[in-house]
Amino acid sequence: MSTQASRSAARVMLAPAVVVLLVWMIVPLAMTLWFSVQRYNLLRPEDSGFIWFQNYANFVATPAFWLAILNTLLLVLGVLAITVVGGILIALLIDRPIWGQGPVRILVISPFFIMPPVAALIWKNMFMNPTNGLFAAGFRAVGLQPVEWLQDWPLVSVILIVAWQWLPFATLILLTALQSLSSEQLEAAEMDGAPPLKRFWYITLPHLARAITVVVLIQTIFLLGILVEILVTTNGGPGNESTTLTYLVYFEAILDTDAGTAAAGGVVAVILANIVAVFLMRAIGKNLDA
């Protein structure tokens, strides 16, 4: 249908977006790969040179490395578990006929719009602080010893904060998916005497499968990159107890000024993210055809 002229015009109009994204993707990645095989300290740039895979060896040999991998997995899985299960429950609740659905939706979605440093600091100071925090007040009110959240449960604290930020996202997506479920099917099942739990398991859950997949994959991409929530609360500590892969790379690059080792860590992060990305692209690509 389209003419030759409009085809070439289309190509011209597409070009800027493709070029900037291509540059944005290739140049820094190539540089990361390059630095990852270089000895390069930001404070001593003159003392640099090719050192093969020494940086990778250094990065893996960092005392925090394996713990960071474990913490990254725990953070991602912990947040996913809370947000998906919580999201389904809340979505089911809001989807029912209730008074004031609009305001309820607004309240539930709100945490998603809070910038990460604000969310982290509110929780750190006003809730988890062992002297003045609300949690401590609650513990004291029932005669218990307040918990030193960030000291004794650093990773759990970070997981709680991040889960609070992402629960609205999961809820909103699952609610949207839930609303496209035909009520006739559920009513028919009810007529046939299927109990609520069975209806949920055999009708609602399969219907939500796609949305759950999307929530899991998209959140994983973002969760792998969590930094500021750790930066302003535990700083990866105490010790390395809440250090994740992302935090470790940030630490090597900015605080330790070891660009070479940080770049090697960056490559590890790319590999990890790509494994997830392949699955995500497949899920979204499928929908593009539909």
């Binding site: 008074w99 659905q101 607004i106 709100s110 910038m115 006003m126 796609r210 940030y250 690059a253």
Partner: protein
């Protein structure tokens, strides 16, 4: 009889839903309340819920002590600048993919999406060094470009899904009447796409405003936006709860209100059209 039961049920569900919703939003509500408390009452034991001496002093203090508006304007400039620049690049691209699709359009879209999946830390070292070498570190321009780039795939995708919904016949009719390509985009497509573009703009401003990786890593003072400003409260100023709350409330209020209006678009934008 059945009706009475269902009303009762509805009341129960309503109570439950409101309870959960208030619990989820509670940290925000508590922060806003605390921002109006005198500092001493903000850390009172046991906590004071509403019966405190309401004051606006914290807001005045934050503004005076920390040059709040410098950070605020940086946030505004970065959010609006990156969105405008992103639209400039994305509208033609989305138009082209929606109305003159080629064999590779699908692959191209998927590839654009894949750039979004590159973790920030993976390119932290090169971007940081490039910014130092080119003098872009701690400049608004540098941040506008980086934030635009990380959100560009989302803008293109969202616009693409909205443009797809515009019937191509209308554009063809305009072409028959002798409209040039630029006037076709300007006078026919754009007015029809305004709602879609508006949603895209809204979501993009929210994402840019809250972006907390590059805005924190690549700034020190001059170009530092509110994300950096708030991070500065990590300690020991964080112990001044009322001031922290006032600063937080000012940082989140504009975007929270925008967010309420963009719930639907949020789903579409953040799932790349996979869930509608």
């Amino acid at each position: 009889m059945a009706r009475a039961v269902s009303t009762q049920r509805k009341a129960l569900n309503t109570a439950l839903a409101w309870g959960v919703a208030l619990l989820i939003a509670f940290p925000i509500i508590w922060t806003v309340l605390t921002s109006f408390k005198p500092e001493a009452q903000a850390v009172a034991r046991p906590p004071i819920w509403l019966g405190f001496d309401w004051t606006l002093r914290n807001y005045a203090d934050v503004e005076r002590q920390r040059d709040y508006f410098d950070y605020f304007w940086n946030s505004v400039i970065i959010a609006l600048g990156s969105t405008a620049l992103g639209l400039l690049i994305a509208i033609p691209a989305a138009w082209s993919m929606a109305f003159v699709p080629g064999r590779r359009t699908r692959d191209l879209l998927m590839w654009m999406l894949s750039t979004k999946m590159m973790p920030g830390v993976a390119v932290l070292v090169p971007i940081y060094l490039l910014f130092i070498w080119t003098g872009l570190l701690d400049t608004r321009f540098g941040l506008v470009v980086v934030i635009m780039l990380i959100n560009l795939p989302i803008i293109v995708w969202m616009l693409y899904t909205y443009f797809k919904e515009i019937p191509a016949e209308i554009l063809e009719a305009a072409r028959m009447d002798g409209a040039s390509l630029s006037s076709e985009i300007l006078y026919v497509l754009t007015p029809m796409a305004i709602p879609g573009i508006a949603s895209t703009v809204l979501l993009n401003i929210i994402l840019a405003w809250n972006e907390s990786f590059w805005t924190i890593v690549l700034t020190t003072t001059d170009a530092a936006p509110l994300t950096k400003f708030i991070s500065g409260f990590s300690s020991p100023q964080g112990l001044f709860y009322a001031k922290l709350s006032a600063a937080s409330t000012m940082a989140i209020a504009p975007i929270l209100v925008m967010g309420w209006f963009s719930q639907r678009q949020l789903v579409r934008g953040l799932t790349f059209g996979a869930v509608k």
